[in-house]
Symmetry: C2
Subunit: 327 residues, 2 copies
């Protein structure tokens, strides 16, 4: 059973995951290039993975497939058992850790799929969040994606992950608290105001559609960091209409393609920040995608301070991305 421990100085929770130490890739600097035949996520290798949780299927077989992570950071079985150890706080590592395999073909990137394929992946994120919400021990669900060894991927077959945790993660809680303070002070959603200002100034806009906008944030931690938000207020990703998810698929795919062309298919992470699973709709929080290309290194200064140094002004990055024509 993994253990959740809280650092008393920073307040951060750490998963001490003894089982994951068995992963042979853990201390290797790079992902070994696998032959397609050896990939456990490819069509035909289904027996190599844990039993399927959910899938999208058509006449040709599965298109998107969800399985439990074989090396889970948190486990579903057991009680939370919150306790102290002297001045420290600790609890059992209860949670869920799922893998969303995005295609039966051995593709390396979501952009290799067409808009309908991406749409299926976004729809599956929604289904999984709705399903996990029924487990009352789970308080937060984070959907994320690692592409490339430098971004922490250990398998190259295109996939996303979902980790559900028994508390709201500190970074998300900080966002919610700041957004709440803004709402109390100004009576409007911080994110709605950001969308309004970005659309008015246009300087950091990458691309937009009727209901979504992709832009470079005003103070990005790394070059070409990009956010995608719904223009209309909505706190929970999983409350998004299916028709809107189809529209989002086109915009997200175009944004990722532009980033790939701009800086040569970089390693990247993306993640969805959404309201806690068990929260009612919130006036002050607004779900969004964060896309973080991993082109600079996090060094001692960033670790020590939480300050980041970004050599590319977001206005330059946005202009560059806007001008890339996708055929």
């Amino acid at each position: 059973m993994p253990e959740l421990r809280r650092d008393p100085v920073s307040g951060k929770w750490v998963i001490i995951a003894v089982e994951r130490a068995q992963r042979p890739e853990e201390f290797q600097p790079d992902v070994a290039a696998r032959k397609p035949g050896a990939c456990p996520f490819c069509r035909g290798a289904e027996a190599a993975t844990p039993a399927e949780i959910q899938s999208i299927r058509d006449a040709a077989g599965w298109r998107v497939r969800v399985i439990p992570n074989k090396y889970p950071a948190l486990k579903v079985e057991g009680d939370l058992d919150k306790r102290g150890e002297g001045l420290y706080d600790v609890m059992n590592g209860i949670g869920a850790h799922e893998v969303i395999i995005e295609s039966p073909e051995h593709v390396h990137n979501l952009t290799a799929l067409d808009d309908a394929g991406v749409s299926g992946v976004l729809w599956m994120y929604k289904q999984r969040l709705v399903d996990l919400k029924r487990d009352f021990r789970l308080v937060y669900g984070l959907v994320f994606k690692n592409v490339g060894a430098r971004a922490g991927a250990t398998l190259e077959h295109s996939h996303s992950q979902l980790i559900a945790t028994p508390m709201v993660p500190v970074r998300v809680q900080d966002e919610i608290d700041r957004a709440h303070a803004y709402f109390d002070f100004r009576g409007r959603c911080l994110f709605c105001d950001i969308v309004r200002q970005e659309l008015a100034t246009q300087a950091r806009i990458v691309t937009e559609s009727a209901n979504f906008v992709a832009f470079e944030p005003f103070a990005p931690c790394s070059p070409f960091e990009t956010q995608v938000l719904p223009k209309r207020h909505l706190s929970h990703y999983e409350a998004t209409d299916d028709a809107l998810l189809r529209e989002l698929a086109g915009l997200l795919r175009a944004t990722l393609l532009k980033i790939d062309r701009a800086i040569g298919t970089p390693a990247y992470n993306y993640l969805i920040h959404t309201a806690p699973l068990n929260a009612a709709p919130l006036d002050h929080y607004h779900w969004h995608f964060e896309i973080i290309p991993r082109v600079t290194k996090v060094a001692g200064f960033e670790w020590g301070t939480g300050f980041f140094i970004n050599p590319v002004p977001p206005e330059h990055a946005a202009k560059y991305l806007r001008e890339i024509r996708l055929s």
Copy 2:
């Protein structure tokens, strides 16, 4: 002039450092191995660096040398000029960015020096913090060290850096706030209590001397993360007696050597968390070193949540480090 911008959602400050984009190494994955003759930090290449700020010298020439960073993240000249840009906050990138060259020889690591050499480096950190304190625009001074390309080093010649900022960085302020809340609640310094509990249980102790202790924190973000603290309460690193810095040099060097032997001279960062330059001595804050070997990757989950997954329990790491005999 670099710009300091605050992200309205996370509250983090980002240095948008246009000048640094000119650095050719910025987007390269690895540090090119340099021939010793081409290194600007070696004895004899002094003309290749900006003018010296301070040094330690003996009959053989300089032993430790401080210079301004040639590609500074922040600049000393100018006014802060705090202003708004719609809902965003921005100010000029005022600050100091210095490089502490730790040896005239082309060594790659602080552990290549003897205890006296390390002691000189620790003494120089103190001198620089005391000197920068006189500039009232500067509120915080972070001393840090990047070793190896994976930890963000762009030159292999052993060196540290000091960045002084016009505000307390968010990560340090969070620590101070939490430690303050603990002090208000319990009437004791959080760090003093941690030292007391660690010395009592011994399970996470790596090594200790009369006045310092090195241990693995209860909830470390990464394997073999190690902290070094003075046993007696002190909020400001630069208030440490010179005799104690000599003692610390031996302990720090032994700790770094043990980590090198344990996991094969990993890339690592270390940094000093100390009270703000302009603060009076604080009852509730306690300076400390954090040493962070860069052996795991920060992936999407860690970025998205501030949660970390650590496959090595700190009790295992500490036992392993304790049992390493240094000759």
